[in-house]
């Protein structure tokens, strides 16, 4: 860590290396690969939200002249239930298998039941109707509150709640109960002079990535296989698919296509193991592309939640106790982000007495997947709403109340570690000093502020830098680029090597050309893969110095490296990187550096968002009129993409707060499975999202980097809902703050 270090490349707003291909349409995405002899796969999906599958008869489909393979759950080797960590968190292999193709039960409308590969896409689609399935329809369980009731229909007869003092005798929909505590919660509330307790609801939401899931695969006669797909983690596609098909990892090459958005939703598999089995059975390459309708109905959304938060404080603003009950919908299989929800809910606050209980609950909706800071937006929404109400109740400015209780270096978190240096106080100060916070509000306008926290992760990353004979270099990494990370890798390599960014080409390699790299998720790439880039670059520099030392017949210690040039400190000699590479054949062969690491010390990122809205009091429609996102980046490698992450997180959060929700009918069928009626914000709906980059360096990264990709979606839910509440004079505790809901709140109090 060298705060005094002057950077030559880091902090520059360079043109992204993937930009030209994207704007010209040349970039190849998941659906863009076709192979000779390729056929098309389609999936038959459950028309019921909850049903027993009594029998599947595919004989008529198999007899269809264009059908080349039919696959059901029965085609896969048996897998046993058990933990397995392929992607963004642990997955139960048995659940994963039953999610990609149902076993004996359909657990949500759209659940995959069988797959067909046929000569044409239309023939595959048509042949789906030839599969006869005998269903016994069961009542669906569509809300976490209903699912937790003792008399509720049970999705899984083998699901027994974990985390209770005694193992329950009866199966239920509650997969896990979790408890986190610190201090003495009762004493904390006894010491409080003001106590506020509120219930909150957040709906099921989708990540809304623009590119649907798509894959093209080929299973060869010798078992050597290839998967091309749109994913955040191709090594984890390899791991999951190999497990499900019982293959060696070395038999399976996965190529990550260019990716059109993921936000956590592309950290698991849906199509790939199905397509590969269809290819194995048909002997042909198989392509599968989800429709938008399928993406909504059958790929992982974000959890709906019901929560209760209770906070007590003294009149001077000292918070004495914080308590939360957080109930997360997992969808059809256990594994919601309830855990991170519990761990993040109160982390922006340094409070002595905390008690949190969380429930992970299955319902008849698609299995949730990670969504940008999974679990934190829902949990912290509830906490921040109560903090804002407390500020009003105590007549203390919401920034001052937060400053008074803010988490800082040394704060004991409820989940374990003490915080190292973090930037929450700096973000709050920046908010206080911003022109936005000083601007007066007009009629029918309201202002909301909220803080947000996300851990960020490190993990395994592998990078190879191959130097070319002319002194240019290729940065080979294993992390699909969902947020401009190639530009960051290029900048960090340039800084460390002293070679200009224009001479360094970053590429995302397939699973055969770079060692294992964990999924692009948890805001880890610029931090962890960046560290691997730095290590690989240092490896290159070390070799360059060795070569120069050999040429000059001096010791390596006598060679300095500066701005891409080796300097003989014992004389006047200079050798540029290009000259060393050109002469590499005479000094020991070509030069390549590697950095294969398991990065520790990811620095958490805090954010504070400010939102002004104007509400049409006659229709309940909300317009965001001003928005400022303030966040700690540690060190912004490429400030433009850091700002882009802040803005993107804010916009997704605004959508979540105002209009986005899965609307289900009474049969558990989603009624708005398309972008017409699942309303993500349009460009015309939003003002420019202003940003302020705060930089409190992370001591564990050579440049001080913290991940920035996720925290930005945490504060908007409460910032927007508070602004709406402020404008209309009614506290909005249920999301989304859609026009009908806001109008009703206005009318109910009139």
């Amino acid at each position: 860590m060298s705060e005094a270090r002057e950077y030559k490349y880091i902090g520059r707003r360079t043109i992204r290396p993937d930009g030209f291909d994207k704007v010209t349409g040349r970039a190849n995405y998941g659906a863009d690969l076709s192979l000779p002899g390729m056929i098309w796969g389609k999936i038959l999906r459950s028309p019921y939200a909850h049903a027993v599958i009594k029998s599947i008869d595919s004989s008529k489909a198999e007899a269809h002249p264009d059908v080349m393979a039919v696959v059901t759950y029965q085609d896969y080797p048996a897998v046993s239930s058990g933990g397995f960590e392929p992607g963004d968190g642990p997955t139960d292999l048995c659940d994963l298998a039953r999610n990609i193709l149902a076993d004996d039960k359909a657990l949500y409308h759209g659940h995959a039941i069988a797959a067909i590969a046929a000569r044409t896409e239309a023939a595959a689609e048509e042949a789906l109707s030839l599969i006869d399935i005998d269903y016994e329809v069961l009542p669906p369980v569509m809300d976490v509150a209903d699912a937790m009731q003792p008399g509720s229909p049970v999705l899984h007869e083998d699901l027994f709640t974990k985390g209770l003092a005694e193992q329950p005798e009866k199966a239920s929909n509650i997969a896990t109960r979790m408890e986190l505590k610190k201090g003495d919660i009762e004493a904390g509330f006894a010491a409080a002079e003001v106590i506020i307790e509120r219930d909150f609801y957040t709906p099921t939401v989708h990540q809304g990535y623009i590119e649907p899931h798509a894959t093209t695969v080929r299973y060869d006669e010798d078992g050597q296989s290839m998967i091309w797909c749109s994913t955040q983690g191709h090594f984890d596609v390899r791991a999951s698919t190999a497990k499900l098909l019982s293959m060696d990892l070395g038999k399976l090459k996965v190529i990550a296509s260019e990716i059109g958005g993921g936000f956590g939703g592309k950290t698991t598999v849906y199509l790939e193991p199905v397509a590969l089995m269809l290819s194995k059975k048909s002997g042909r390459p198989v392509k599968m592309v989800m429709t938008r309708d399928e993406v909504f109905r059958a790929s992982g959304p974000g959890s709906a939640t019901r929560s209760t938060v209770k906070i007590g404080a003294k009149k001077d603003g000292t918070i004495t106790a914080m308590q939360a009950k957080l109930c997360f919908e997992a969808g059809a299989f256990k594994g919601s982000p309830m855990g991170p929800g519990c761990m993040t809910v109160f982390t922006p606050y340094d409070v002595e007495n905390i008690y949190i209980e969380g429930y992970d609950v299955v319902v008849n909706k698609p299995k949730v997947a990670a969504y940008r800071a999974p679990g934190a937006p829902q949990a912290e929404f509830a906490a921040e709403m109560v903090i804002n109400e407390l500020a009003d109740e105590l007549n203390i400015d919401p920034i001052e109340l937060r400053l008074q209780n803010a988490a800082k270096e040394g704060t004991q978190t409820v989940y374990g570690p003490k915080l190292k240096a973090v930037g929450l106080v700096e973000c709050l100060e920046a908010a206080k000093n911003s022109p936005h916070y000083k601007q007066a509000l007009a009629e029918n306008q309201g202002r909301g502020l909220a803080a947000g926290f996300w851990f960020n992760i490190g993990g395994q990353s592998s990078v190879i830098i191959n130097m070319n004979p002319d002194g240019t270099g290729t940065i080979v990494e294993g992390n699909p680029d969902i947020g401009g990370s190639r530009a960051s890798m290029q900048l960090m390599a340039a800084e460390e090597l002293g070679i200009d960014v224009s001479k360094l080409n970053p590429i995302v390699a397939d699973t055969e050309h770079v060692p294992y790299s964990a999924t692009t998720g948890g805001s880890r790439t610029t931090f962890a893969t960046g560290m691997a880039v730095i290590e690989a670059a240092q490896d290159v520099v070390r070799q360059m110095k060795e070569r120069a030392a050999a040429v000059w017949n001096v010791t390596v210690e006598q060679v300095d490296w500066s701005d891409g040039v080796a300097i003989n400190t014992a004389g006047e000699d200079r050798l540029t990187a290009a000259e060393i590479c050109q002469g590499a054949d005479r000094t020991g062969g070509q030069i390549s550096g590697r950095g294969n690491i398991n990065a520790r010390g990811a620095g958490p990122s805090f954010a504070v968002h400010l939102c002004d809205v104007e509400v049409d009091m006659e229709t309940g429609k909300t317009a965001v009129v001003r928005y400022t996102a303030i966040q700690d980046a540690g060190k912004a490698i490429h400030p433009g993409y850091v700002e882009g992450q802040y803005q993107g997180g804010a916009v997704q959060g605004i959508g979540w707060a105002l209009n986005e929700e899965y609307i289900y009918n009474e049969d558990g069928v989603m009624e708005n499975a398309g972008f017409l009626d699942y309303r993500i914000p349009l460009a015309s709906d939003l003002p420019m999202i202003d940003t302020i980059i705060v930089e409190v360096p992370n001591a564990f990264h050579p440049f001080g980097v913290r991940g920035v990709g996720e925290t930005g979606i945490v504060p908007p839910l409460a910032a927007v809902a508070t602004a709406v509440s402020d404008a209309i004079g009614v506290r909005m505790t249920n999301l989304p703050c859609s026009p009908p809901r806001v109008l009703k709140a206005i009318q109910d109090t009139a």
Partner: protein, 291 residues
């Protein structure tokens, strides 16, 4: 398999002959912005598509002393760029401008909007308050019908087999008359109306309302004419009280459903707000002409 037969006749007579002689389901193709989406769900059904865009009269618009003769297939993009038409029927043009995105407006047409017969069609309330007429040509000749009588239900209209909408005829408004259209959507664009309202107003030299028409969309199986909402404006200066009465009459006339786009209660309320606001805008436009 789905097989599609595509024909692009050069005259209305040829189009009528193709439609009336078809042995498979025949559908007129205007811009196709609704039709192509509807056809994505087709399995094992063949279609004859009769594209009317090669018939010159279908693509033209003439504004003269009689009023506007609007070719039903003229794209909304072309229509909304016609300043001469906009100055006479600003409400109709703003309705056409709300359909879809800029790209969609390059294909979408007022005739297509009418024939798709959705109660949420944006241009229909604006056509109705301007007393627009549909000219329909079929195997047995030509007939005319008021726009408000054209649609008969959700997605249904009075066209018989072999018939097509050949012209939309909009009379020239009386002196000191203007119109306005407003719709409600939760976002700012590219959405389908939760409710819509068009108002046409005539004011005399003293600013007193002497004629009015009010039409509301997306709050009943078809777009409605609300005579009561027009009546309450007559004899007033379109003041706050009159506007409140318009809102109440429009809400009362509506019979909306609850669906993914809004509840019945919400739609009933909002359609009144829209009618009131559209009336105020139309009146303001007349005052602008007068001053």
């Amino acid at each position: 398999m789905v097989s599609v037969v595509y024909e692009a006749p050069a005259s209305v007579q040829d189009a009528v002959a193709l439609l009336s002689g078809a042995e498979i389901t025949a559908t007129v193709l205007a811009g196709g912005t609704d039709l192509i989406i509807q056809m994505q769900g087709l399995v094992n059904e063949s279609r004859l598509l009769v594209d009317l865009k090669k018939i010159p009269a279908m693509m033209e618009a003439t504004l003269d002393a009689e009023g506007l003769q609007l070719g039903p297939c003229m794209s909304c993009a072309e229509l909304t760029s016609r300043e001469d038409i906009k100055s006479v029927y600003p409400g109709l043009i703003e309705a056409a401008y709300l359909i879809g995105s800029t790209q969609i407006q390059g294909r979408a047409s007022v005739g297509g909007n009418l024939c798709n017969s959705s109660p949420a069609a944006d241009t229909v309330p604006a056509l109705i308050v301007n007393n627009a007429q549909c000219v329909i040509v079929g195997p047995s000749g030509e007939r005319s019908i008021q726009v408000e009588d054209f649609a008969t239900g959700v997605g249904q209209n009075c066209l018989e087999k072999g018939e097509l909408l050949s012209l939309i005829r909009i009379p020239l408004p009386a002196a000191n008359t203007s119109d306005a259209y407003l719709r409600f959507i939760p976002r700012t664009e590219m959405d389908i109306a939760v409710a819509g309202a068009a108002v046409s107003i005539t004011l005399d030299d003293d600013g007193i309302c002497t004629a009015a028409r009010v039409s509301i969309g997306a709050v009943a199986p078809t777009v409605l004419v609300v005579a009561k909402a027009a009546e309450v404006l007559l004899g007033t200066k379109v003041d706050v009280q009159a506007l409140q009465a318009v809102a109440e009459a429009a809400s009362k006339a509506s019979s909306p459903i609850t669906d993914r786009r809004g509840t019945d209660e919400y739609r009933r309320h909002v359609v009144g707000v829209l009618a009131k606001r559209a009336a105020a805008i139309a009146a303001e436009r007349v005052r602008g002409i007068q001053s």
